[in-house]
Symmetry: C2
Subunit: 256 residues, 2 copies
């Protein structure tokens, strides 16, 4: 069974998608076969590896509804060892459809128990900015939840809701769910982020990952180029920091 | 009847909430009584005026379900002439509940036809980062849709979905819906945003509002302080730019 990491935060624009690809591409450099699943109807992860979601025949929606198995919906990305289940137009209505199904929260976990998934050491789940049925599926299937957080008021305030959600998931569908906070888009100009980070460190202590992802325009450019930052700008700060994050998390992935 | 502006974009973190409050506070300085409605379960708009969403008795949810009228759910903010309908925990389930109701898209428009709303010249709707029933209500009730957009790949790519949504809304529930794009969080460092902005200007022409909102840390600080930027840092760039935006839009609001 691969190790499953969900990358979720209800707050929008905190670098969930950027982190999913940065981490996926870095784990592949550490020789861990990795599968990324795009759970967002916006399909940003899909386009960040150069695919056009309007042309995708399948998405995870077909696998969740039992219409196709995982082997039929996964695809290779431009990076060897890094596969993806893309998002497509069928993802727009799946959110509401899932609620009608019995025990809908377990559908993704069931899909990840299929034989085709054993090819991978790691599965990464990119979540939309909401707490709908797809996010509930991701948290039920995950071993670890990474909550990307900017050092800004709304993003930090939203953590209370995320912790509440973790409590709910642990009670109902996934008792062993672990979580960690990841500081993203850290802006060293001025003192605003530095001050917020100090408060976060005091308050969250070990809940906060050591690695901090700084602001790096190369991350924005790599998305336009449809490549991971480790390929588009291998010696950039963003690439180095996501590699460092993979090193920090490696102990979880290989020890399970 | 007041003029209704919806501030929506499925992409997360593009400054929808920041724009709603920046605009609301600026219109009040132009002596337009303004009502803001927080349609996001995250309740960022509610907290940006110093209110605690956990303590709110009501939200727009009660008005949409017909359990309370608008006069009972609106509140004064700390800024005279700027009222708010806050978000609260009841907003978490309203998204799914609305889909069960006949002609659910028109519920907000019906609420805004109540006598209490005639006190206002302007109503601003802050939308969540999704295309659910609350966003459909906002677009059905709006005279103008403002789409805040960063000069970044995912945010611009998401515009195609937003334009498709506008077409759908015009066909089905609101034939006269107008829209404009607003560039937010513009980062003058480096050339990335400048190059993207040039493409946007060529492509969208008059669809793009003249006013551009630059990156300004005073906007982040004002949210922590629970005050609009026009009050927290009245001479900041962010405050000036949102005032400029209100001036640019004033012609729509007063002419209707
Ligand atoms: N470290 C960084 N430095 C600079 N820009 C960044 C960084 N991380 C992310 N970005 C940019 O910030 C924007 C938001 O990132 P991203 O889309 O990954 O966030 P998200 O949480 O997935 O958003 P959504 O809530 O819409 O899913 C993107 O335009 C991305 O290019
Ligand atoms: N012009 C700006 N300069 C600097 N920071 C900004 C600016 N506009 C917004 N921000 C910051 O960027 C973050 C995102 O803004 P905001 O929360 O308003 O976006 P949103 O689109 O409402 O997000 P969501 O999709 O979660 O509703 C916030 O932390 C805010 O403080
Ligand atoms: Mg994303
Ligand atoms: Mg918002």
């Amino acid at each position: 069974m691969p190790y499953v990491i969900a990358i979720c935060h209800q707050k929008g624009g905190v670098a969930k998608t950027t982190t999913t690809l940065g981490l996926g591409a870095s784990f592949v450099e550490l020789h861990s076969e990795t599968l990324m699943i795009d759970l967002d109807p916006q399909a940003n992860l899909t386009s960040s590896v150069g695919l056009d979601s309007n042309e995708m025949e399948h998405s995870i929606a077909e696998a969740l509804l039992g219409e196709a198995d995982l082997a039929a919906v996964r695809m290779e990305s431009s990076v060897p060892g890094l596969d993806i289940v893309p998002s497509s137009a069928s993802m727009l209505t799946i959110g509401r459809q899932l609620y009608q199904l019995p025990e809908f929260e377990y559908l993704l976990r069931k899909v990840l128990a299929e034989p085709a998934v054993h090819d991978y050491e790691l599965v990464l789940l990119d979540c939309p900015p909401s707490v709908g049925s797809l996010t509930l599926n991701a948290l039920t299937a995950a071993d670890l939840l990474i909550i990307p957080t900017q050092c800004e008021y709304f993003s930090i305030q939203a953590l209370a809701d995320m912790f509440e959600l973790v409590r709910l998931i642990r009670d109902r569908t996934n008792p062993s769910l672990m979580y960690r906070l990841l500081v993203t888009m850290f802006d060293g100009r001025g003192t605003f982020h530095t001050r917020m980070l100090e408060r976060m460190r005091e308050y969250f202590k070990d809940g906060l990952l050591q690695t901090i992802i700084g602001f790096d325009t190369k991350l924005r450019e790599s998305q336009l180029a449809g490549q991971p930052v480790t390929v588009h700008a291998p010696s950039s700060r963003g690439a180095q920091q996501y590699r460092q994050l993979a090193e920090e998390l490696k102990i979880h992935v290989t020890n399970q």
